[in-house]
Symmetry: C2
Subunit: 569 residues, 2 copies
């Protein structure tokens, strides 16, 4: 076994310029984001910086994406806060220890899923549910930052409580904080909106101008920190600042959870793992497709698991692949995960020597970067598409978003998964059943209501467009009986089964009863196009024996036989 990853073994010199540029630009984005997301997670600022060191190296060695930028992200930070706030005081040493334990559990789970090939679990989070979850989270996060922007302190949980408390606290707004925070929001929003276009008009390449706008948060941080430090705004105007950030690299420990904390951390760790995995894979995949690279989901589980373990042992908190940073990494020319290693090295330099620079950084400006970053996560596009294409999916999306906003992240995901499974079962319990006939001149059979087809008098040929299982077996029986009641001339019922992928025990019982009851009335039951796996099971059951000779390979064959038996034209 070769311990080096393929990209490193076969590294080509011409890739280095791109990796270096991308590493530099991502670092400039990562510094304010890691501080801001630590704040969002209720953690001291250095925890965000620590989560941006070793995890990047671990992912570079074990992940499968060439361009995914791992580290602290908004949604996982919100989920961390929501998991830990009931357990300890935000910012306290116990809270930090719990965050490290959460990363450890999350890492262990991701690795276990990778080893057990359980990556498919993530498939239960449908695209609309994930979209609704992220949109809801973005709203919760943005609302949570409003007090920081206004410079007021409130004690509130959840969106409604926070908004209600804010209305009362409005008179306490600190004008200087609001000016710094509001000014930053405006600057960041305008630069995102117009800067790229303006720079392009000045003659810069569109790609380069696009990248430069990503540096706006760093510019806001530098300018406002200088202002606050120079004018003494913290002391004179009560502007809350980051304060002393410990300098020096984190020491390594293994943060094992105690038996009491293990219980409440398990579910949040699972959700952070799954949501983080789904998000990372979808970002990684969409970037990989642009360069004909391939993402291997089980390798991603291992890469993300290792990143979280690395975060846990080096004083960090749960990390995953971030959307915005990955896109920038890709656009800035990253060819291999070396870009991530370069970012990690630069972050290490900052943590080891320059944390003093953040002392006068105002909270309001970090809040501004968060608010502007998460508004881009609000996804109305998927909602619109789903609304047009599939109303049930759109409702799952809305229910998930509403659940996250009104009840919190865990309840939101639970509602989303329940909705999407509910829609699925509801649909399959109301199956589409078509009466079919032959398309003239072919051996192909289609719905009599949609196509001009030939039928055989006395034969009722029904195509059930669903597996037969407990959720619909009785419905299907009822519909057959209704058709028989409507046409007493029917002598044979043919079930056309290309869409029947399963007949479960309940449906087998219903079909067995149906066959007996039809036989008593002198009506034959036959099947066609039964698939191999379904046929394998049917053989040897009483129904299989009763239908001996009545199970036809093709519907054509079944029609030919019915034509002979029923003596029709």
């Amino acid at each position: 076994m070769n311990a080096l990853p393929a990209w490193l073994r076969d590294y080509r010199r011409e890739w280095f310029a791109g990796d270096l540029t991308a590493g530099l630009i991502v670092t400039v984005m990562l510094i304010p984001q890691s501080l801001a997301y630590a704040l969002l997670a209720g953690l001291p600022p250095q925890v965000g910086l620590y989560a941006s060191l070793l995890p990047l190296v671990a992912y570079a060695l074990l992940g499968s994406s060439m361009t995914l930028a791992v580290g602290p992200v908004a949604v996982a930070s919100l989920m961390t806060a929501s998991a830990l706030q009931p357990l300890a005081t935000p910012g306290s040493p116990e809270y930090v220890a719990l965050a490290m334990q959460l990363a450890l559990l999350s890492g262990v789970m991701l690795l276990a899923f990778g080893a057990l090939r359980l990556g498919f679990l993530a498939h239960f989070l449908s695209h609309p549910v994930i979209s609704g979850f992220i949109t809801g989270s973005a709203v919760v996060i943005a609302v949570g930052q409003l007090p920081h922007l206004l410079g007021v302190k409130i004690q509130a949980h959840g969106v409604w409580e926070t908004l209600a408390a804010l209305v009362h606290a409005l008179p306490q707004t600190q004008p200087v904080t609001l000016a710094l925070g509001g000014g930053s929001v405006l600057f960041l929003w305008l630069s995102r909106r117009f800067l790229a276009r303006g720079l392009a008009r000045l003659g810069l390449a569109p790609g380069t101008s696009e990248l430069l706008t990503k540096l706006a948060p760093m510019a806001a941080v530098l300018v406002t920190t200088a202002l606050v430090a120079g004018l003494g705004l913290a002391e004179r105007a009560g502007v809350r600042i980051v304060g002393a950030v410990p300098q020096g690299l984190p020491s390594l420990t293994v943060p094992l959870p105690s038996l009491e904390t293990l219980g409440p951390l398990l579910l949040p760790a699972l959700l952070i793992s799954l949501v983080g995995f789904v998000e990372s894979v979808s970002v990684a995949q969409s970037l990989a497709l642009k360069r004909q690279e391939r993402i291997r989901p089980n390798r991603e589980l291992v890469g993300l698991g290792a990143a979280n373990l690395a975060s846990a042992v080096s004083g960090g908190y749960p990390v995953t692949g971030g959307f915005a940073r990955s896109v920038v990494n890709f656009a800035a020319g990253a060819r291999t995960p070396l870009a991530g290693v370069i970012s990690a090295a630069l972050m290490a330099l900052v943590v080891a020597s320059f944390t003093g620079l953040f002392h006068h950084l105002p909270h309001a400006v970090l809040a501004a970067t968060i608010v502007v970053a998460v508004t881009s996560l609000i996804d109305t596009h998927t909602l619109k598409e789903a609304w047009r294409y599939d109303r049930g999916d759109a409702l799952s999306l809305l229910a998930t978003a509403a659940g996250v906003i009104a009840l919190g992240v865990e309840a939101g995901i639970a509602i989303g998964v329940a909705c999407s499974l509910g829609v699925l079962v509801w649909r399959s319990s109301h199956p589409h059943i078509a009466v079919v006939g032959r398309v003239p001149g072919t051996e192909h059979f289609r719905n009599v209501e949609r196509h001009r087809v030939e039928t055989v008098p006395g034969l009722l040929a029904l195509r059930v467009d669903e597996s037969l299982y407990f959720g619909n077996a009785n419905v299907i029986e009822d519909r057959i009986e209704a058709r028989l009641a409507a046409d007493p001339g029917i002598r044979q019922v043919l079930l056309v089964c290309p869409a029947v992928n399963l007949i479960d025990t309940t449906a087998l019982g219903v079909l067995t009863e149906l066959q007996r009851s039809l036989a008593r009335r002198g009506i034959a039951l036959s099947l066609s196009e039964v698939k191999g796996p379904v046929m394998d099971r049917l053989r040897g059951t009483p129904l299989g024996q009763a239908l001996e000779g009545q199970i036809h390979l093709s519907t054509h064959e079944a029609f030919e036989q019915a034509r002979r038996t029923l003596g029709a034209v």
Copy 2:
């Protein structure tokens, strides 16, 4: 609107003999059962009698089965006990009031389901889950009766606790109680096992002998009551007896739940309604089929709902259609629900004038009738069949039974439903995908591994045996990519879609990406046998537009075109 039900409007004189006989025999079964099941539900004996009066009349007027015998049943009694024991002391007036409220809620829910045509909700209880639930309940019920059979008093909840407490309490066993209880169990078991055969050998018709054995519980009640009264066993040997049962018909009240009790009663009422409905319909349907009668599920909801409302307002508790009594009713010749009305009238006579007869009836004998009745509910047949036919269903059954025994009825049902949905989703997330070719000389296409078929070089024709949705979209994409990697000569991918009943938003996104990625590699994507409802949605989406002209009505057509395009033989 004619207020009279059809059976009463068109009543024929020749039906009366059968209805009268059945009404009499069912009453003789109903008296000990209604007393015993009230005991099981933790209610005073008269509540069981009251639940056997008006509900029978209400069902006779509104239900759709000619032979279903409604009244107190074992499983609903257990569910009542398990719902109410946390809320009040068994036997207390509050407990009785809560039982009436539970019947009221259950009745309202059943009527609402009938009005909203929500009968399909019951379909979520698959046959294996119901079977496991009833088997588990039978075990819980039987174990719960052991202390009564031994004459010991223990304070315990659940199967394990009861068994553990029994071991400790064994030395306190009352010999006379054990003799009465154990003797009754032996007598009932022997009479069930051998009496019918013995009577038949004496020259009685097999049907008549079968029915006579159903009177054994009444015989046990009469003999032991006479013994206890005559020998004064209650006073001299400490045998627990039923004691004074209030004489006279119940007064009518409307037992409205208070706001505090409403909450904890809702879920139990829902479960009692659904389980009772599913059981009643399945018994009613199997009896109706023998006489070419028809059960209408929505009418059954109304009939059972009315029966529960009637029980609630007349001092009863939740009722439903009982398996054993319905079978006896049918076998004894009941032609119409008049048999039920006759039973109700006889029960009314007993309640009004003869409750004194039950004073010396020993609890141990009631326990014996319960134990023998529920052992017949233990259903190993379904387990064996499911084990042979569908391992997943068998595991759902076992999980439900184990859940009921270890954790209680509500947890058991929840586990069962979760298991059966889980099995369903697990299956559809691991879809069967077959490479298909043409069966020579036909226009029919089958799995290349199961049939001798013709293929077109350069064409990969895949039949996906499942709807495309969030649970399997990525799996399917991965499998297609794996096939492409294995055979670089493939120029066209054809998805044969007769089994695709739905393409949800998530799968639409995956397919859209797949089409683009294939196109970039010079590989065409096409579809065949897309069903009408799926096609309706696909039209107008970007994928539908990109596949313009590549969606074929039949696989035959798609193969013919591929043969031309790819220039193969």
